[in-house]
Every structure is written in structure tokens, then in C-alpha cells.
């Protein structure tokens, strides 16, 4: 299971955008609410997907 597509959809809907490739498989994103945060590609762990949403100032949605 890869949560990357779902997470990035939620992030872009919330006004977040990708600013950099920090290293292969790790993207740097910017949130208008909380500032910079990291997004893995792929995201295999549900807990990690929720952590990314929290870092962007969003509520965790994966259960």
C-alpha cells in the first residue's frame, strides 16, 4: 500500500506545495500553515502518512 498519492492530494488541496527534492525518495514541501516539512515517496506506513499530515497542520485521516 502506497499512501503517497492520497497524501499529496490532501496536501495540495490544503494549499501545500513541493519546493525541493531533499534526496532521492524525500521531498521538501512547504505548508502555508506550518512552514517546511518532509514527504517520503513512497509512503508505506500509515502512521508516517498521518505524521506528514500533522506536520502540514492537517488532521490525520488514515485509520
Amino acid at each position: 500500500m502506497d499512501y503517497y498519492a492520497d497524501v499529496t492530494k490532501l496536501l495540495t488541496d490544503a494549499g501545500c506545495y513541493r519546493v525541493a527534492i531533499v534526496r532521492p525518495g524525500v521531498e521538501g514541501w512547504e505548508s502555508p500553515r506550518t512552514g517546511p516539512f518532509l514527504v517520503d515517496n513512497p509512503i508505506r506506513s500509515q502512521a508516517n502518512a498521518n505524521n506528514i499530515l500533522r506536520n502540514a497542520g492537517l488532521a490525520p485521516v488514515f485509520q
Binding site: V22, G35, P36, L38, D40, R44, S45, Q46, N51, N55
Partner: protein, 144 residues
């Protein structure tokens, strides 16, 4: 931050979602180093919290904290179902990483933390120390 200001921020956030903000409980985080507030949002007609989360409502000045002797900590947990190691808890803002290999994850951490602190523009030091704590739950069967 005063409760009225917190409510105003929450209202603006909730308006973006489909939730209705009925009740807000605000209390300081039990872990003061995160400088966050805990809030609960209840849906109409429900007694329990619908949504409860730590939201950083206050920007943390990392440079000040570092000068005051703040240490960054990264707790790594294991997601057995997904077969990856991941950052489960940390006080580095914005840090969330995972990797099937623990070695690779540990290799990623310095670069990722450096990028985040550089982007925060609050860190003027060349090197920042951080602790890595591993959290793994195992079971030992005791033969009877």
C-alpha cells in the same frame, strides 16, 4: 496565546474542512518543549471529542531554544505491517521519514534535519546535535 485567538485560528481551519466546530477545549501541551496546545473539536450532539490533536499554534524559535541548550530528539519506531522503520516522534518541526532499512533511515536523518532547519531560517550553526532513540516492541515467550 489567548483562547479567543486560538478559537479564531481553529475556526479558520475547520471552515476548510467539512466539520462543524462546536466546542473547543484548550490546554497546554503536557510536553512543554513542543510549545503546542491541545484542542478537541466536538461534533454537534456528540459528547466525546471528534478530533483531537496537537497543533503548533505558536512558532518555535529554534535558534533561541538551541542557545538555551535544547536538544533535538528523534524517536524511531517500527511499523511491522508496512515493514518499515519510521520517525514516530520528534521535536524537529516537519520531520517525518520512513525506510525499510534502519541504516538507510539513519543515513537520511542528518540531511533531512539540516534541510528543515535551514528552511526555518532559525539555525545559524553549522552542526546541530540530535539524539536518536529506537523504540521496538518485542515479546519473550517464557516456557512454563
Amino acid at each position: 496565546m489567548k483562547p479567543r485567538a486560538v478559537r479564531a485560528i481553529l475556526h479558520s481551519r475547520i471552515l476548510r474542512s467539512n466539520l462543524s466546530l462546536i466546542h473547543v477545549k484548550i490546554r497546554r501541551s503536557p510536553r512543554p518543549k513542543f510549545l503546542t496546545y491541545r484542542f478537541a473539536v466536538c461534533e454537534s450532539g456528540r459528547s466525546g471529542p471528534y478530533l483531537e490533536a496537537f497543533i503548533p499554534l505558536k512558532r518555535v524559535n529554534l535558534a533561541t531554544h538551541e542557545r538555551n541548550g535544547m536538544e533535538y530528539q528523534v524517536v524511531i519506531g517500527r511499523d511491522r505491517k508496512a515493514g518499515v522503520w519510521f520517525v514516530s516522534t520528534t521535536n524537529v518541526p516537519g520531520l517525518a521519514l520512513e525506510d525499510p532499512s534502519l541504516d538507510n533511515l539513519l543515513e537520511k536523518l542528518p540531511e533531512a534535519i539540516a534541510w528543515l532547519l535551514r528552511k526555518q531560517k532559525t539555525q545559524d550553526q553549522h552542526e546541530v546535535p540530535f539524539d536518536v532513540l529506537l523504540l521496538e516492541h518485542e515479546r519473550a515467550r517464557i516456557a512454563g
